[in-house]
């Protein structure tokens, strides 16, 4: 019924939602439609698409077997977008939220799907002007995808801490490492996949939800991780869009290495879903959004408390042999260095704010960083 497309396992793809900024005010602006139209005439790899409000665009990479070719493509896409935006007097930035835009000033992108979402969700739709990175990693079968979805949930806090780039929201420092995830949590179908352990089980769940009329397609689940049967992938949707593409590609390499390790070694049972995984899930997720690398996590298996930074460094260490095979030693070293020094996007944005005191400057620096300067 829900056919899971079989593709070459461990291939990678990313989606990056980006901010479209007016360089005069440094506020978000409805430049999305003009920019997309202009990009139709510019040669670039991948795809560039609209998102729910007109101040957003989304870059979609093609599938890649390795990190280095993904990074190369992301660089090419970034350059095309930044250059074209410049000719329209627009700036582009990464980061999970715009620091001071006011959500009610956003305008819904005039496509049928986005208009429907807006009429269904009311103000939530405009508040969904937040910017995330989605990472796809391919699996051989639906059963593998279900297994991987559950096992990756253990690492959701790690991805939150590494990608966090949204400390400011609506003009204020939120005290959170990422404030973007609060916009996601408001949706009724957010959260995580139910504890099914096979693809058949998932299909049964899916059929019920269809039958209730609660969903129309898999797209209606706003889970942190979800299987994407039409692509043959598992999609990790927890990350803030990083401030530059190199971190975005490194995060994708991390997902790939984790998937490789989990599916090759099968270190945890596949015939059932360990209850602990989701008992600690909400707590660990909150800790990471609030405290980043300094979060205190509970390990669902040992029931011990541990510091996120230590567990992340240990995980990256464990993945070394797999990273060697996949050719992603460099990106994982980059993430380890970030964890070691606490240097995620939120720390960088807060430092820029500390320097000048004006959130306009934070946006300006952020756009400069995205364009390839730091």
């Amino acid at each position: 019924m829900l056919e899971f497309k079989s593709v070459s396992p461990y291939t990678l793809g990313v989606e990056l939602e980006l901010q479209v900024i007016n360089p005069h005010t440094q506020d978000l602006t409805r430049g999305g439609p003009d920019l997309l139209r202009a990009l139709e005439k510019v040669a670039h790899p991948g795809e560039i698409k609209p998102e729910i409000t007109e101040s957003m665009i989304e870059l979609n990479s093609s599938p890649h077997a390795r990190h280095d070719s993904l990074l190369e493509e992301l660089h090419a896409m970034r350059d095309a977008v930044v250059h074209t935006a410049g000719s329209l007097n627009l700036a582009i930035a990464g980061g999970g939220t715009h620091p001071f835009h006011r959500w009610h000033e956003r305008r819904i992108f005039p496509t049928e799907r986005f208009q429907q979402l807006s009429s269904l969700y009311g103000y939530l739709a405009k508040q969904f002007t937040v910017f995330g990175q989605h990472i796809h990693v391919a699996c051989e079968s639906g059963d593998d995808a279900v297994y991987l979805t559950h096992q990756l949930s253990r690492y959701i806090p790690h991805f939150i801490a590494l990608s966090a780039a949204s400390p400011f929201s609506q003009g204020q420092d939120t005290s959170f490492e990422t404030s973007r995830l609060h916009a996601v949590s408001a949706f009724p179908l957010s959260g995580h996949m139910p504890p099914v352990s096979t693809w058949a089980g998932f299909e049964e769940f899916f059929a019920k939800m269809l039958g209730y009329g609660i969903i129309g397609s898999i797209k209606d689940f706003y889970w942190d991780i979800r299987p994407k049967p039409e692509f043959g992938t598992v999609e990790v949707r927890i990350c803030d869009t990083p401030l530059e593409v190199d971190t975005a590609a490194a995060l994708a390499a991390f997902v790939q290495a984790l998937a490789f390790w989990l599916l090759v070694e099968r270190p945890y049972p596949a015939d059932r879903v360990e209850e602990g995984l989701y008992l600690v899930y909400g707590y660990n997720r909150f800790q990471a959004t609030r405290f980043g690398f300094d979060a205190t996590l509970v390990d669902p298996r040992s029931q011990q408390s541990l510091v996120l930074r230590d567990d992340l460094l240990a995980t990256l260490e464990r993945l070394q042999p797999f990273a060697d095979i996949l050719g992603s030693r460099t990106p994982l070293a980059r993430l380890a260095a970030m964890a070691g020094s606490g240097a995620n996007g939120s720390a960088w944005l807060r430092a820029r704010h500390e320097e000048s005191g004006a959130l306009e400057d934070v946006v300006r620096h952020s756009a400069h960083c995205w364009a390839g300067g730091v």
């Binding site: 005069h24 005010t25 139209r37 000719s87 400057d361």
Partner: protein, 414 residues
């Protein structure tokens, strides 16, 4: 006790209306007009204009001694402050490096001005005006009204390429209008066998003096902004700095008999281009400026010389057609080289239609210096202003709406 009661504490009747009462009455008149326009889904500034127009024509029905006209002379200051604020804002929004990043925009800016100038001057020569007269009228016609474009964009919260490009082109054509008009003024001096110091020195003084004043004001504001810093507590201080310097610049331009408009446009442009350290916050002059804008349009309405339209006759229509076609041709010719669509270029051409009320001031200045240019040329330009004061705002409103860039108030969930 003295039986005579003295009423000397009472004012002479009718009481004289001072500037405060005048400013207040103009605002209230604007309020009524604006509300009416809003209900009709028209730009508010049309309502302000209309209110002014009625006030201006109401003279015969007012109590004796209450005529608006003697007071209009006192209002030049309000007018200058309002237009000064608008030109500053226009200049401050324009990042000149955009012309480097999109050469087609630079081409559009130069072409639309050049073609409109050539077309207007050519048509007027055909109607028997001298070359200098035709050139002066064409120079004045170059400028698209910054006030109309900015206020309509703000009222309808227009955002997008048509809006941004219109504002960029308006800044350039306004600048070119000043430069051309001032240069032609010196030619006019020469043709009237004025002494050399008048021919050369006066225009030079006007141009260089105004540019210098604007530049100095910008330097001072940027220096002050650096001292004040940028924290949340500095926002108010920076607002006062800017408001203070703006009013001072208008006053100084007056005192030194320079061009308020050129000085303030340069002030804004310099604030943007020279702020390499981004010291100046994006302070919104907001409500305070809005009051001056209302008064600006009520006054413009009150001083609109309706009679000029009839007096000007056919040439004015030819002049306007030439202006519109020249501008549209300039913009459309660059469409194939641009990153925006043909349709967007068409809306952009339409948005350039409004003619500047500043032209009224320029004509007054000109005719007071050279009465011989007088009536015929003055009537022509004024008639064009009268017609476009009403058509212009509608054109801009239609252009931003047609381009899908505006969003009226209350339309929160669109």
């Amino acid at each position: 006790m003295d039986g005579n009661i003295s009423f000397a504490f009472l004012p002479a009747l009718p009481p004289a209306l001072g500037p405060a009462a005048l400013f207040g009455s103009l605002l209230l008149a604007g309020l009524f007009g604006g509300e009416l326009a809003r209900r009709l889904k028209l730009p508010r500034l049309l309502g302000w204009l209309l209110a002014g127009l009625l006030l201006g024509q109401a003279g015969p029905w007012l109590p004796p001694g209450w005529s608006l006209h003697p007071l209009l002379g006192e209002t030049r200051l309000f007018f200058d402050v309002a237009v000064g604020l608008i030109l500053f804002d226009l200049g401050r929004r324009l990042d000149l490096t955009w012309f480097k990043r999109d050469r087609s925009l630079l081409a559009a800016a130069l072409l639309e001005s050049a073609l409109a100038f050539a077309a207007m001057a050519g048509v007027l020569c055909l109607f028997g005006f001298t070359r200098v007269e035709a050139g002066l009228a064409a120079a004045i016609g170059l400028s698209t009204s910054p006030a109309v474009v900015l206020l309509v964009a703000r009222e309808f919260r227009a955002e997008g390429q048509v809006t941004e490009r219109t504002l960029a082109l308006v800044a350039i054509n306004t600048l070119l209008a000043f430069l051309t008009a001032t240069t032609l003024l010196s030619v006019a001096h020469a043709e009237n066998a004025a002494p050399w110091h008048k021919t050369l020195l006066h225009p030079l003084y006007l141009l260089l003096g105004s540019v210098l004043l604007g530049s100095l004001a910008a330097r001072l504001v940027l220096w002050g902004a650096r001292l004040l810093g940028k924290g949340p507590e500095s926002k108010f201080s920076q607002f006062i700095l800017l408001a203070g310097m703006l009013l001072a610049a208008v006053g100084l331009a007056h005192a030194f008999q320079l061009s308020v408009f050129l000085a303030l446009l340069v002030f804004g442009l310099a604030c943007r281009q020279w702020d390499s350290r981004y010291a100046l916050l994006n302070v919104d002059l907001g409500g305070a400026a809005q009051l001056f804008y209302i008064v600006l349009f009520v006054l413009t309405g009150a001083s609109l010389p309706l009679a000029a339209v009839l007096a000007a006759g056919l040439p004015v229509l030819a002049y306007l057609a030439a202006r519109s076609l020249g501008k549209a041709a300039g913009v459309m010719l660059t469409a194939p080289f641009s990153r925006i669509t043909w349709r967007q270029h068409a809306w952009l051409s339409l948005a350039l239609l409004p003619m500047s009320g500043v032209a009224i001031a320029l004509v007054h200045d000109l005719t007071s210096l050279y009465p011989q240019f007088g009536e015929r040329l003055g009537n022509l330009v004024l008639a064009a202003v009268v017609l476009l004061e009403f058509l212009g705002p509608l054109a801009v409103q239609a252009a931003f709406k047609g381009a899908g860039e505006s969003r009226p108030e209350g339309d929160e969930h669109a």
